[in-house]
Symmetry: C2
Subunit: 109 residues, 2 copies
């Protein structure tokens, strides 16, 4: 897996419409530009441009099929952001604490 420039990832996800598109692709899986346009509440060209930005960050992949273009989320492209977050202790500690809690509660059931 080739990591994309972290800057592209951070910038791509800074816009709420783009995050919404990415979330939608993750939730409902692969979708055409048409379907995403209905969802996103902006014009089709706007969606196409957002998809270009997401593509640059490798957060989506596309597959042409006739006149349709199907896009799908590529969530492992979040790696640069996750790696960056790894520098911030609270992150891991919080997660492990929660995990520990969970395991304890499971023991006592």
């Amino acid at each position: 897996m080739t990591l994309s420039n972290p800057n592209y990832v951070f910038r791509a996800l800074a816009d709420p419409t783009r995050r919404a598109i990415f979330e939608e692709l993750t939730r409902r899986g692969e979708q055409t530009v048409h379907a995403l346009t209905r969802y996103a509440g902006v014009s089709q060209p706007a969606v196409s441009k957002h998809l270009t930005v997401l593509k640059r960050a490798r957060l989506v992949r596309h597959r042409r099929d006739g006149r349709e273009t199907h896009y799908q989320a590529q969530s492992d492209a979040l790696a640069p952001m996750i790696n960056w977050l790894d520098n911030y202790g609270a992150f891991w500690r919080e997660r492990f604490d929660r995990l520990e809690d969970l395991l304890q509660r499971m023991d006592h059931e």
Copy 2:
């Protein structure tokens, strides 16, 4: 802990200079605007404006001391971003895989 608007957090960290400032504050701890300016490679007003954006996202706090203003990173303000990332499986899977690897290697030593 009051969570700040996720949008502010994402936008604040979308800029590389701002990320650098935040990283520097995390690494080296509390610092004055002056020190950050020497580090950041842009003018002092530019740094002040970046700090304002980081403040809006609650990623930094400041403390006045005479003519100096000391800023410090508030890394638990990353929570909104981390929560958002929690929706993306690859994240956890990757981490647990790595953890599993580590534990296995520890067993065999």
